[in-house]
Symmetry: D2
Subunit: 265 residues, 4 copies
């Protein structure tokens, strides 16, 4: 089973890049399942709206994961419980709207997609490692094919999660820094891992945001309005091949597309 | 002019990887100058000792940069002022021992190497952007060939620095997360940039540290003794080619060597 | 010379408490100078508006200090440079709108009021201790009567500032936690000190904000809209008596007024 | 029932102050139960040792609470499970050594003492509000007399806990900043509250630590060895009177003793 996982889609440039690349990638890579991190997909780069969710479904995305920007658009509270394939970090406290995982069926196989958030430099949610244990226990009753999007800031917390789950899930793909890391690998017990998948959106911004605004913020420490950067685009993702019977990952490949790294079929 | 910049060397495994790889890389890549981030090179992975500094010089390293772990080994206060090619972040407050930059001569050319530290999730040092302005002004009176090791946690702060200095320095290579990013590029005005060079040390640890200890820390929130991970090795670096007359970067290439990515001459 | 320093005034309830108490306090305490921290005085409890500034002047306030909420109301950028007695933390970087100190004349004496912000758990501004040195040097050329509002979170940073300036300024009164501390004292070399003056506003909120909203925030980790708490009021301040010739503080007295601690003339 | 709660005892000066004041306070105040926060009682000001615990028992202390420094002395792992009256924050994850509450019997009445830690600027433990719910539910099956030491940094989190538990416990007394706040009160539904009880130890330090070392730390951002301040002493506590049948607090009184605030029987 082949899963295409696309990193944080940021604002309108992110959606534009999705439209431009998606059918090419589908034709070329033929993934069985496509998952996108959509926490920045609203036009402002903060949160996600109902219409963006619909756009993702129209494109053919199978599941959307989220992160610390999950709730930035208030309207999400109106639709997150209706959209079963839109999942938020599972370690928000009990009673939080939305769900933290979803099952996706492909002929005789079922894949589980789940989402967790790290706590280093982020919110004090429930322990993601204990929650991972609970998720694995529950999801493995249905399928050994499990992909976790672990949304976190600290490289140590993300790598710790990879090793913690090695052999228990098919893939731990991390998000949040918006920069693709070059450390994709299959861990010794068969879990695919990458410290960050990277983002989809402006190529000449600072993590997708207008670069002059970010620089001004660092220089002045004053409130600055952040807009999404316009102009050239980048697209970052990973493709993971999983043995559908064992759930073991066989291969993880980075995809990085921008003007300096053009797409070759 | 070709500069080889090697990311955070972590503990004894890091030094072992340096010894194993260094002559191969020199023969193969023939860099004019080699720089190493040494903030974790002490056997414990914290700070640097006098004997490790000597080892780096013996290997042929031309300059050592540092970061938030600069002062972890107390003995550094005894030798940092004697070792002019061992530099610490320049934005420590005035009066701090050691220097924040060094010049290295190669025949008729001089390169300047400087070090700054970000403030996001790290210490409240002096503003690294303003300090960068001051460094550029001073260093460019002598040479247009300037490499900055910007040691920082947040990807946004690191990318902001790259864009801020684009066209004013030859390279902004960032360190600290110990994970190589895949976003190396030449920015539009000629500055080579990468969000993180990655580390040199254990391949099967968590950012070089014993993985079970890090996992235990996240699980228990109790004090945990961190040792350097043993076993297989990884080596991460970048090679930058600079036009020595203009200081403009022409090429930046990532080097990633581990069991899954073997070295090919 | 007697200075009345009033802690963070929070929202409409804060302004109401100011109107209710101010003439009583003036009649009873007869301060020569009255200073108010106004960083939360806007109706929403965030920042300050032009009309609130005018209200303070009408009440008879002589200077307003600020803090991390200085810039929450965008309109402040329109008037901060015209209002010389409205001061913001002096350790914002050079070029920041507004000033960090003001002189106030009373017959033959002049008092200097200045404002700094701590960096622990707050923004990475310029070093407040070095900036304090510079301020003391500059202000003492005109007067030994100097009051500093040090706006900070960590009790250690605030106490460190008190000891650092002991004998060099008349008073270090700290703000930001919105809770009055009971540690007011004259330090050995004549500087009046208190770790936090406390706030003016709702008595039954959480640091002046609607208590159920704050509790919901801690319980859910979701975005919550914070309104100012309504209902009963509290008023917290200190009165400091200073020898106007030496600048030495002779006495610091806490004022705490609420339903459990009624005002007695 | 009268409970004397003594704030963070810091190092040898803290223990000295305990010895000097304790019998006076007992004779004068005649508390039924005495509780001390001992997280800084080791000679270094970090953690607690077995011999310090014994000293507290010899003095007549009935229970010891802790906080973020609980584990600073490694030996605590050897004795925390044997010392049932030495309790650590109850919201450490399941499996943590030690307990988070203890019952103390006084003739026909039983009091429960429990300990929680805030998460703002501290460790990401389990949610203290949810854990408080669980503790209240469990403890109230035995007694309505419940005192919580809530160890936290942010005044908002501490006040939120007070309001959250108002009417469900007898007292929420907070610790950690080492500075006594002046906001002691009985909340509307009968819970005694104070944002911080303050500390016991050196009067002329910075939160009990050698003041020059702390200032050096803020000035240099370099590693600094912190010793406990020597010299004059301070003692901070609260006395709470509780209706033993209803568990309702009737009165909370601050105790602050130092050279500027001498003890009067
Ligand atoms: Fe994101
Ligand atoms: Fe994120
Ligand atoms: Fe570092
Ligand atoms: Fe490092
Ligand atoms: Fe405030
Ligand atoms: Fe504030
Ligand atoms: Fe403490
Ligand atoms: Fe503490």
């Amino acid at each position: 089973m082949r899963i295409l996982f696309v990193g944080d889609v940021v604002g309108d440039p992110g959606m534009l890049a999705m439209h431009q690349m998606f059918s090419h990638l589908n034709q070329s890579l033929k993934p069985d399942i496509t998952i996108v991190n959509g926490e920045n997909a609203a036009p402002s780069g903060k949160g996600i709206t109902r219409s963006i969710v619909q756009n993702f479904w129209k494109l053919g995305v199978d599941a959307i994961t989220l992160g610390n920007h999950t709730w930035d658009q208030k309207e999400i509270f109106d639709f997150i419980d209706e959209e079963s394939k839109l999942i938020r970090p599972a370690n928000y406290p009990e009673g939080t709207p939305g769900a933290g995982y979803v099952f996706i069926k492909r002929e005789k196989y079922t894949a589980a997609v789940c989402n967790l958030m790290g706590r280093s430099f982020l919110l004090p949610l429930d322990c993601p490692f204990r929650k991972a244990d609970a998720l694995v226990k529950e999801l493995r009753t249905k399928t050994p094919i499990i992909l976790l999007d672990f949304h976190g800031e600290a490289s140590s917390e993300k790598q710790a999660m990879g090793w913690y789950l090695d052999g228990r899930v098919s893939a731990v793909v991390c998000t949040h820094t918006h920069v693709q890391t070059a450390d994709e690998r299959i861990l010794p017990n068969g879990t695919a891992f990458i410290t960050d998948v990277g983002m989809v959106g402006a190529y000449d911004g600072v993590i997708g945001i207008e670069r002059d605004a970010i620089i001004r913020k660092y220089l002045t420490q004053l409130p600055v309005k952040f807009e999404v950067q316009e102009g050239r685009l980048q697209f970052n993702a990973v493709v993971i091949d999983i043995d559908p019977d064992s759930g073991e990952a066989k291969r993880i490949q980075r995809i990085r597309i921008d003007d300096d790294n053009p797409w070759m079929d």
